[in-house]
Amino acid sequence: MALSGMRGLSVFISDVRNCQNKEVERVRVDKELGNIRTRFKNEKGLTPYEKKKYVWKMLYIYMLGYDVDFGHMEAVSLISAPKYPEKQVGYIVTSCLLNENHDFLRLVINAVRNDIIGRNETFQCLGLTMIAISYSETFRLESMPTSSFTEKKVGNIGGREFSESLAPDVQKLLISSSCRPLVRKKAALCLLRLYRKNPDVVNVDGWSDRMTQLLDERDMGVLTAVMSLLVALVSNNYDAYWSCLPKCVKILERLARNQDIPQEYTYYGIPSPWLQVKTMRALQYFPTIEDPNTRRSLFEVLQRILMGTDVVKNVNKNNASHAVLFEALALVMHLDAEKEMMSQCVALLGKFIAVREPNIRYLGLENMTRMLMVTDVHDIIKRHQAQIITSLKDPDISIRRRALDLLYGMCDVTNAKDIVEELLQYLSTADFAMREELALKAAILAEKFAPDLSWYVDVILQLIDKAGDFVSDDIWFRVVQFVTNNEDLQPYAAVKAREYLDKPALHETMVKVSAYILGEYSHLLTRRPGCSPKEIFSIVHEKLPTVSSTTVPILLSTYAKILMHTQPPDQELQDHIWAIFNKYESCIDVEIQQRASALIKKAEDTEVDTAEQSAIKSRAALQQSSNALVVTDQPPSNGSLPVGQLSLVKMPSISSNADANSADQGLTEANGALSRVDPQPPTPSPDLLGDLLGPLAIEAPPNAALPSEQSSISGLEYDPNSVDALALAPLDDLTNSVQPIGNIAERFHALCLKDSGVLYEDPYIQIGVKAEWRMHHGRLVLFLGNKSTSPLLSVQALILPPSHLKIELSLVPDTIPPRAQVQIPLEVVNLRPSRDVSVLDFSYKFGSTMVNAKLRLPAVLSKFLQPISVSSEEFFPQWRSLSGPPLKLQEVIRGVKPLSLLEMSNLFNSYRLMVSPGLDPNPNNLVASTTFYSESTQAMLCLIRVETDPSDRTQLRMTVASGDPTLTLELKEFIKEQLVNIPMAVPALSSIPQQPQSTFPVGLTDPGAMLSGLL
């Protein structure tokens, strides 16, 4: 048996190994900890050997996951030992063990420093390794604040001064010609670690020349470490390192040609694949390569890699060569230069996704998805659709995930039907872990690319049927909303709902949707077999015993609606339903009880008609709220259409239809134009209609407008979106004939929280945004997609940036061809803190119509934040050191949207302000921290504290602190804006209690509240 060379240690490890279960193990470990504790107490008698042995045991115990809260002193003291064996153990154990307790580390700081600047290179190595490994934990806080903090000395924390004074020592070792490679490569990575935590430690001006020289390094170990350092440096600020670029290309050439590479640095015959990958990674941070010669050399190398990588039998060789190949692909995608090479890349990826080797297939799928993001290769990738769908059925979940991502990314109007149907099929067998994502993706795609609306309804109902547990409420609200807003769809949806109710073991969500739809529209089916009011009622009622208390109110409302739609009234049915209401009036569930008694009250007051009226109200409210739902991911193309008005226009032809009549009443009610509805049963009378229409005529055009509207959009007849376009023909505003789809403000707010999505959409164009943020830099890509079959002309985009942002906009083409998408990259640099927002002034011409939109760009303050967690030991000294204005500002904010503390935490976290739970001893308070990046402030730590009043959630006191007065002010105001006016995209809001019914037309934006407050 291989032994550790320390008998006591081996025996202990062996004992632990022989433990039959976790409990026995814990007993053995506790015994050992007790033993070590006693030994350490009588330290006098401890030989260095014993000390070493116990410290190793401690590390072993700690590695197994047990807490070791003593003995740190002993580990630390070994570092200062004069002899190598003790020192070595001291360093390795300390660096593993002491990451949460930096008080002890201060004790050895001088010892470590002496070792690093000393002359013994073995000791230097130990010191450098420890700093490189444990730096992040130990000196996290000390290194966070930057330049402006240095003027304001932060306490007397030795670590910070230590790290600052240490960096020059480490730099000296790295560039020293007398140091051996083993020291220099450690110094390079140690410096990388110091730099990651505090970019100030590398003085950019002088250092870039040094880096350029370091790239001439002949020792491959040192060069590899230096290249890692360079990757970190250029990822942060490539501008300072342009002179390194040609050197990188040279290194790559040297490696690719295998010139002058020592044998020991080839790996399975490949010249250091790691160095090749790192070098290509560094090159990816430069936006372009200007010098034609360098560029040509690089492309030759890349071409060689792309063409010359063959599949070989040896797994390791294959992996190594493909690691290089995939990095080369990424670099080609980035440089995106010669379309010739791009098509080569797609061809290679097409090959990869079909191979049997799972790693290559996985990476093929992953990189194809990446490629979709950087360039328009949809058409080529679509050729591989069948192959990708096969991967969706792969036995490996990792591969299935990549296939799902790719299918989602490549979906458009032409293949949506196929892809969504595949996803649905897969849903029944998919892993639990994937179902929710799958359901959401299918729903989004179905909505985004639906060739017709009945298909959309089919898809969502199937989705609920197959994966009801994973279908969020948003999704079923959406389908209900669609049906409500599209009259043509209503009979179809009712038929479908009726069919589903026949199925055994229905998911509860399906019961909800079906009951809701049938309540509203089952009267459209009465002539069909099995669809009489009585039959509909009894099939819905069958489900009642199986549903939970949240669904019961929906069913009760359905009964009321069935009753009101029954013509002529059916006394027997009415008695039956009333009996049910009476029964539930004494229900223990408050919600149900209220619903039942409300229904009864209404019924008693004015018989059925009032119930009808209130049901209508809620439906009208749904129509009103159609905008509100659009925020859920990709909005539908007809999200905001004024449906109520559309149905108005059509009304004369269906004036005998009680529903249409009542819908108008409801609408009128909702608009506040008519406060009381005629309590008479709805008798179809033209006069009455005329009266009802009277007040509405102000808002809606006269009926005569319809034909002309239709003709004006006839040009869109062959557009798959024509349904939407028809529905969209804006009847309410004839002067500006193009209306945005969805709510622009909500889209903007949603994009403030995520990095990709739709910024603007109207019937002809969709503008999508994809953004990447890194420190104070941002890269946005605008995707301008022409949805129509005609070109969009005179396209213009102007950016009106506020003074704190530097935004470079690439050239915008004058014309966007039919059904084409163009990409406009934007480079953003954040110069200083400000919450001003830049505006994109966008215009185009469709036919003779000029369309102009001014859109806020989601380059908001929070995008330049990076959440950072701080411990209480770190937080409070900082907090105290920033005393009073202007660095620390406090304000009592009133009129805050009431949020629970958890919801507020979620809100903060979603804006990249990291909440540290439990840090503030008062449970009603909340403390958050983040780093803000801008050119003027560099990385700057910001601390936020919110004190809430549990008795009044509409007010709170907020304190914001940072090292920069402007930043403090701007951040405080920014957070305040979010607290006072919370955009609806924040999911936490859905749990806010519903508002009273009377406020429907204004402010009620939550679909959950809407539906549960039906009556």
Binding site: I13, M63, I92, C96, A132, V277, N319, A323, I399, R401
Partner: protein, 161 residues
């Protein structure tokens, strides 16, 4: 950048851990527990990558031992997979066809070797020969010290006899 390195046995026992990003002891235990659940149950012919809470874990099984490294989503997976193999080859060279028991009883040696291969979550040295040379030098330093101590204690023992 590599976030952490885990060596876990087929039974889910921890054989070696190294953390290059800050995680509390509690988080570490949770990661080890949950990740073992994911990786140990994966079949033999699947790919070597799993999605892991916004990160990616590259793993490979050698006999009864799983070597896992957690990386960023856009890091190069195959490169890291071969770092694992590189590490295994170095261990193999050092112990002479390494087995799990070697690593259990000499976990401290494994730490020394890992520290020569990776620091700051980055590859430090790609030559097996160089690493072998450095570890041998360290070992001989320890040996020399031991001999010195031995002879010293002999002298003392002799003198105090």
């Amino acid at each position: 950048m590599i976030q952490y390195v885990l060596l876990i046995s087929r039974q889910g026992k921890v054989r070696l851990t190294k953390w290059y990003s800050p995680y509390s002891q509690k988080e570490r235990s949770k990661i080890i527990r949950e990740l073992s659940g994911v990786i140990l149950t994966r079949g033999p012919k699947l790919c070597n990558f799993v999605d892991w809470k916004g990160f990616k874990v590259v793993y490979k099984r050698y006999a009864s031992l799983y070597f896992c490294m957690c990386i960023h989503q856009d890091d190069n997976e195959l490169e890291v997979l071969e770092i694992i193999h590189h590490f295994v080859e170095i261990l193999d060279r050092y112990f002479g066809s390494v087995c799990e028991l070697d690593l259990i009883f000499n976990f401290h040696k494994a730490y020394y070797i890992l520290d020569e291969l990776l620091i700051a979550g980055e590859l430090q040295e790609s030559s097996k020969k160089t690493i072998a040379r450095l570890i041998a030098a360290q070992d001989s330093l320890v040996e020399t010290a031991k001999e010195e101590a031995g002879s010293l204690s002999n002298i003392i023992a002799q003198a105090t006899k």
